[in-house]
Symmetry: C2
Subunit: 238 residues, 2 copies
DNA sequence: CTAATCAGAATTTGATCATATTTTTGATCA
DNA sequence: TGATCAAAAATATGATCAAATTCTGATTAG
């Protein structure tokens, strides 16, 4: 609960190279990660004032970041002036399964056609860390590495709109993913990355697409099961 | 070129019902329409200062609106803090075709299962106006009614995420659609809505999905053809 | 006599704007 | 042609106003 200074403050004047990142982007990135990796629970309220205190930033950049995240589905306008992390419902999950199946498999197929040996090695490195995280039962690391693997594929596929959509979908189920992990541990989570890597080695687009489709469906079905099962979500802040 | 007051200003105090719409939402809606219906050409620069003059609004709400549109793919961050209406490129079009095919057909199928007779009548009304617009060669009306038809289907399908994605896709090809119409007129534009309405009457989900898929593919192929053909886009502001 | 509900006050939160600071661009001069 | 300065544009802050929720207290019903 560090109260202030979550932003990387460059007190020094950055004499030479100035890769200056605007505050609103910093806030955006920070909030995005918080949603993506479940630091904000579904149902949790997000207030401008609260973020001002948490980040130490001014009002305008925070406003911009919230608008962006809202557009991307990471946050939800709940009626009057309350912004919350959305809770997944039954019908929304159907949408998610359909879209992620389509989009992820397509991205994997395109990536398979374009991938280079060094890129495969990078992905294998990520997957190794992912295995490690599963063994340790480290939920946070699992979520991060799992996302890194998929995001890596997106970058290779070079399909900008598909990538945007895929990233938006991650933001939608990220918070729930965290909840599921918290309950079930990392053991039962999907990892079809081995077969995906196999297919990428062989540049077999069809197989790569199938592997990712499998991975995605398993992941979301976990969430659905958890939602149906523990309907008495005691986690939800009210 | 009315310089000021593009916003609907409620000078009166709204005594009874107060559906007060925040300025940033008004600006957002206004800009969105401008992109969607081609009032802003691809390549056209969008500046904050310019919008302040155009709309008469303050800086903060405009900022928020721009961020939102940027997230949705309607606007693009072009390096040095310059925001422009994006130009469609070859690879982006492939993404668009794939996604619109998937999403629109799926939405049509879901709509077919849930649609009511009165909703069918509403859609038929829209389609009639669309036919009229095509006959008149009224490009602006064609674009508006065509979008209204699709958006109507989205609302009926009740699939929130799919709808969001579909709307985001519209924003991406809206400006180019306008360009195509400007060159080719409305005659050659697709209208598979008749067969879609047929299918909806029969509640034949498969047929409805196929009709919409057809419609979508035809529309985007037009754009691709126009892009390849008139590669010397003299319209583009640079 | 206790508990519940409703009205009004107070605090909290959001929206908008005006202003200061930084950065980029372009224009002039050497 | 290149460098320095000036103007314009964008980023970021804080102040101010408006709205909403919450809290408190009183009145009434059981």
């Amino acid at each position: 609960m560090e109260g202030t200074g979550l932003l990387g403050q460059d007190t020094e004047q950055n004499s030479e190279n100035t890769p200056r990142v605007p505050v609103h982007q910093q806030v955006y990135a920070q909030l995005r990660e918080a949603v993506l990796f479940g630091d904000l629970a579904p149902g949790q309220a997000v207030t401008i004032q609260g973020l001002i205190e948490r980040t130490g930033a001014g009002m305008t950049p925070i406003r911009e970041a919230i608008r962006r995240l809202t557009s991307e589905g990471a946050l939800e306008f709940r009626g009057n002036r309350r912004v919350v992390v959305p809770l997944l419902t039954e019908d929304v999950i159907d949408d998610l399964i359909f879209l992620r199946e389509s989009v992820e498999s397509r991205l994997a197929m395109q990536a398979a056609e374009k991938i280079t040996p060094s890129e495969i090695m990078t992905l294998e490195g990520i997957d190794a860390k992912l295995d490690e995280a599963i063994l340790r039962g480290d939920v946070a690391a699992y979520l991060k590495q799992n996302y890194a693997f998929h995001a890596g594929l997106y970058a290779i596929a070079k399909a900008p709109i598909l990538m945007d959509v895929a990233n938006s979908l991650w933001l939608r189920f990220g918070p729930s993913m965290r909840m599921v992990c918290g309950r079930m541990g990392t053991q039962s989570l999907p990892d079809n990355h081995k077969s995906a890597l196999d297919a990428l080695h062989k540049k077999d687009a069809q197989a790569a697409g199938d592997a990712l489709r499998e991975d995605v469906v398993q992941g979301i079905e976990q969430i659905r099961a958890a939602l149906l099962d523990g309907s008495g979500l005691s986690d939800v802040i009210d």
